[in-house]
């Protein structure tokens, strides 16, 4: 974002191209000219953005005023802010969603750092819709948790430029993209044995999960967990299989213990 100075000379042409191809702006998609020029879509932003008209002119490549460097820097900053705020609105439109969906599929937003999620692709999101409150985070649809971007150049982007709704709307619209959830998890162990404090917590969590599954089944809704929704009759035996595996590990150690 800060290296705009290097392309000062061409600031009147294709500002949006420059913006989305700048290092650090990989999360943004290009907003259509049509969308930007429809005043309805910008409702309320004039009070939010300084030098609103200049900023809008710059973003739409019609800014042609001679201003000093200081002023241009201010307008430039306002233009980036304006673009971000419009972006948050644009990406929940049909076209915006489609563009972001493509980027998601390509893994542009990175992969979930959680080992069990097996490099699930992420989506950018904000914890607030109001600017200047929090930075952009990454949402993993597999573990449904949010993570800090790895790179500091992404960590400084305002979360409001993506907003709190976009990633949830994307999966409502493209339901088939929602990955299956997994019940597998990391189990802290010492010499092969579970540790009581964390094991007790995990049992508690798994009870909550079973309660959720019961609620869903009562309403005839798929649970969304892998190896779970194939058929109701298999459910119990599948549960048993999972447990058998876990017991297998423990039984092994149990045997060793008794030998000692």
């Amino acid at each position: 974002m800060d290296d705009y100075a290097s392309s000062d000379s061409e600031y009147t042409s294709y500002w949006r191209d420059w913006f989305i191809s700048s290092r650090g702006n990989e999360y943004f998609c290009e907003i259509d000219e049509d969308y930007l020029t429809d005043r309805f879509n910008l409702t309320g932003l004039n009070t939010e953005v300084q030098y609103y008209q200049y900023a809008l002119d710059l973003v739409t490549d019609v800014f042609d005023m001679e201003v000093d460097d200081d002023m241009r820097e201010q307008i430039e900053k306002a233009a980036r802010h304006l673009y971000g705020l419009v972006h948050a609105r644009y990406i929940v439109t049909t076209r915006g969603l489609a563009k972001m969906m493509e980027k998601y599929k390509q893994g542009v937003f990175g992969k979930c750092p959680r080992v069990i999620c097996e490099a699930q692709h992420l989506l950018p999101m904000g914890q607030h819709d109001v600017p200047n409150v929090s930075h952009v985070k990454l949402y993993c649809p597999k573990c449904e948790d949010i993570y800090n971007p790895k790179s500091s150049r992404h960590n400084s982007i305002d979360g409001a430029y993506f907003g709190t709704s976009f990633h949830n709307i994307l999966f409502q619209v493209y339901g088939t993209l929602m990955p299956q959830k997994t019940q597998r998890r990391y189990e802290p162990r010492i010499y092969g044995f579970r540790v009581h404090a964390s094991a007790a917590l995990m049992r508690w969590q798994e009870e909550r999960r079973e309660e959720l599954k019961d609620r869903l089944r009562q309403r005839g809704i798929e649970t969304g967990f892998e190896e779970e929704d194939d058929g109701d009759e298999d459910l119990e035996s599948e549960d048993d299989e999972v447990d058998d595996d876990q017991e297998g590990i423990d039984d092994m150690f149990e045997g060793q213990m008794q030998a000692v």
């Binding site: 080992v115 914890q127 573990c143 948790d145 790895k150 990391y186 044995f193 964390s198 423990d250 149990e254």
Partner: protein, 396 residues
Amino acid sequence: MSSSSQTPESWISAFCSLVGHEYFAEVSEDFVEDDFNLTGLQSQVPMYKEALEMILDVEPEDGTEDEEEEEEEEEEDDDDMQQDGDRSYRRADAAERRHLRMASDLSVIESSAEMLYGLIHQRFITSRQGIQQMAEKYELGHFGHCPRVYCHGAKVLPVGCSDIPGQETVKLFCPSCLDVYTPPNSRFQTVDGAFFGTTFGCLFFMTFPELEVGGQKPSSSAQTTDPLVSGQSPQPESINGIAPKNLAPGLGQGNIYEPRIYGFRVSEFAKTGPRMKWLRGRPTDVTELDECKVWTQSQALHAAAEGLAPPDAADLADSEMADDNVEADEGEEEEEDMDVNDGEGAPSGTAQNAMFASLPQQDVTARRKPSRRRGHDVALTNGEGGGTALSVGGAG
């Protein structure tokens, strides 16, 4: 192995200062020289002897050292007359050996040495001395921070998901959410997870129970949890052997992502609604995790509700599970506390293993699905679980 250079740096510290090796502790030479710590490694590492020499910076081709060693050998031969001739012969032999080594074996030995160091390292960091060194690195933030937003930058620890080399690369364990993450930098994706092992992560936090494992919570999020805390029943000093504030502080209410669309929560009954909140859940009142107490209460309720009438199948299954937990818990509570205070060195392990002996018992029985035993006698299950746990503990 630049034998001619005068660098005081040992192989071990050179290895640990390589890019990508930032997570490693420097295993002390004492530890490597103690044969007990190397038990069983000889068969796992090719060119074991040479690899070990490399790690310890023992250079058999170095003239003076070699002669000393050979003199000892010669005493066994005890043929003083031929000593001079012998020595020159051996010296030539040593030169030849060195030549061979330099030419072809060096890279094999080098990689064997790395493997051997890694396997020793796995044991070292669960010893008193090694875990202390890792604690210093942890405190300095050498291992980084949890990427999860709600962990607020909690410090993480390198762990393996397997103890067998060649299976998985090193991962990072977060004590605040009890989950494991891939290191952010790709340079760690060549580091074998077995060099840290599966035990170290947990053992570390049991050894240093006083470490604050939560990250830096911003004041705004503290406010949101305040009302909950105020209306909450008093929390115990310790739950299942650890202080509540160190039991997954990054989980629970206020630390679970709540999906919203235009400010409205997405219902769990929506097709793409939330399904994973359990994974980040934690009871606001940690006494819910005191399975012993919970069971006692549920038994009391049960007795009040049912009188002396026999419970039906479903109820039986429930109480059966709870029963098992309780039996194991009682034996375990003291043992776990013992361990926390002890923080004993690891690989020698028999005593320590005995301390955990009751743990798997508990988990096995607790996890046995009620469906398979539905209708069995509660008392019998109890007797089984409790009895075995006790006898195993007693044996150690």
